[in-house]
């Protein structure tokens, strides 16, 4: 039985580091204006903690202790003249300039207001960085994951992730990306970039839940955590709550998505008793927060509203397809895409019937943008079957099977073709 005295200090410090390092590094970045230097100072504080806490005990407020230790080391470094590098000189000049500058209200707003962690999120998700760089840097600096944890989550070697992080930080320095919460006209675009990164991380975990791949759901948990953190940092943004809602609702279906043989189960066929009601409640609550803001509905919120329609239906037959079809109409107007059109056609087929849906599908076929995408003939086959056009349905399923991206999908489509009367 481990008591407080024998409790592993290393475990405690690792947990404290994971909890405190994002805020610590973000605050230091604001002060020293360089992420790399901020990380170095934070690391120095961690080393000091590992040296002192075993004998002195872990402080009551470990975050504050680490911050003080990091700042002390920062001041020591700046004071040691013989160790001043150009970077530190620039920081010194920058700090002096800040004190002497004519007040620039826009810049003052950008720099001084706004939470440090929010500044870090906007910085680590900046569109100038590569997608891989953004996800790795955000998981590290905002999510508090180690490079090794990120590497295992993305199934790539650790040096690959380390490289991506190095490159991302270099881009931030080279492009002089300011450490600030954007407030001007690029705010919407910058926020969209943050949401895109978080959802990318979520999808990375969500797509790979087949079989015994239990590592990947942890990535969804990390994305959810990042989304929830952002929701508290930017509570006035409906799209943020919309994205959180979408992720909570999609995650709620995890246990029902995969069959005993590892085969994917579509939403309509899932055993709803396996849906996580805690996450559904959280998703619906996030939607309420978004609605209360009375802002025009964006893509994430609309997708969440669709997911909520499914979540509220106790059985597939209870689904309010008319409402779903209406939301797809709005979604098609806000962010039109052939995939949205395809999903809209499915909703219309359930809400109204197969004939109007087939018209939408045939437009998509004529449009050509989804050529080669197996779900298009798959949906067409289902509509034709419902209209009694069995031979045509069988042909569509054969076409879909030939376009399937993996063997399991292909086998399922061929099996469907065999089951036709």
């Amino acid at each position: 039985m481990a008591t407080d005295d024998t409790h592993d200090i290393a475990d405690r410090v690792a947990a404290i580091w994971r909890m405190e390092s994002p805020r610590l590094i973000a605050s230091l970045t604001r002060v020293v204006r360089d992420i790399g230097l901020a990380e170095d100072l934070a690391q120095d504080a961690l080393v000091a903690a590992l040296e002192q806490w075993p004998s002195e005990g872990v402080p009551d407020n470990p975050g504050a202790w680490l911050m003080t230790a990091a700042k002390r080391r920062g001041i020591d470094q700046l004071r040691r003249r013989e160790m001043l590098t150009r970077k530190h000189q620039e920081i010194g000049y920058g700090l002096m300039a800040e004190q002497n500058a004519v007040p620039d209200h826009e810049a003052a707003l950008d720099d001084d207001l706004g939470d440090d962690l929010l500044k870090m999120m906007f910085t680590s998700c900046h569109p100038a960085l590569s997608t891989e760089g953004r996800t790795a840097l955000t998981l590290r600096l905002v999510g508090g994951l180690t490079t090794d944890e990120i590497a295992r989550a993305f199934l790539v070697p650790e040096p690959t992730i380390a490289q991506r992080i190095v490159r991302a930080k270099k881009t931030i320095t080279e492009k002089k990306i300011p450490f600030a919460v954007p407030r001007g006209e690029d705010r919407d675009e910058r926020l969209a970039s943050v949401l895109e990164v978080i959802y990318l991380i979520f999808n990375e975990g969500y797509a790979a839940t087949a079989g015994n791949d239990w590592i990947r759901p942890a990535l969804c948990e990390d994305a959810l955590r990042l989304g929830r953190i952002l929701a508290e940092l930017a509570p006035g943004e409906a799209e943020v709550h919309g994205l959180v809602a979408l992720m909570e609702l999609q995650a709620s279906r995890f246990a029902a998505r995969v069959g005993p043989g590892g085969e994917p189960i579509t939403l309509i066929d899932q055993d709803r008793s396996k849906w996580d009601r805690l996450l559904i409640d959280r998703g619906l609550a996030a939607i309420e927060r978004a609605r209360a803001l009375n802002q025009p509905r964006g893509t994430a919120l609309l997708q969440a509203e669709i997911a909520a329609c499914h979540a509220r239906a106790l059985t597939a037959a209870d689904t309010n397809w008319i409402r779903i079809a209406n939301i797809y109409d709005e979604l098609a107007a806000v962010s039109p895409s052939p995939i949205v059109e395809l999903n809209r056609a499915v909703a219309v087929s359930m809400a109204v019937g197969p004939e109007p849906a087939l018209e939408l599908i045939d437009s998509l076929v004529a449009d050509g943008r989804l050529r080669g995408y197996h779900l298009l003939p798959s949906v067409r086959a289902d509509l034709l079957k419902r209209l009694g056009r069995i031979d045509e349905a069988r042909q569509e399923l054969a076409l879909a099977a030939s376009q399937a991206t993996n063997a399991r999908e292909r086998d399922m489509l061929l099996a469907r073709a065999q089951h036709l009367a």
């Binding site: 475990d11 947990a15 994971r18 909890m19 239990w214 955590r225 055993d271 805690l278």
Partner: protein
Amino acid sequence: MRFMALMVEKPREDGWTPSAGEMAAMIQFNREMDKAGVRLSAEGLQPPSKGARVSFGDGAPKITDGPFAESKEVIGGFWMIQAKSKAEAVEWFRRCPAAPGAVIEIRPVFEMADFPEDIRKAAGL
């Protein structure tokens, strides 16, 4: 990973309510967990005098209405949080503004990965 934290307290007098300061401290603690994205749910439980017990023995279960005279401990409430490790969950609840004499018991929640493969298959998972 999910953890449930149970607040285990000494029985209080009927009609007891927390002070404004105690409420504020607890609200702030919950808020910190929200800001970190780790708090999934939390509820306070009404006193045992409002509750009932279902006791199982050989025959039919026995029902007793609260309060339960022999109780030395009362579960006051619970949290469900998401954390990477038990150490992290413990670190969070060290910071809980619990009253002296209270104990918070932290338990990991069973997840599908915890069950051996044959049980998962039997459960259709």
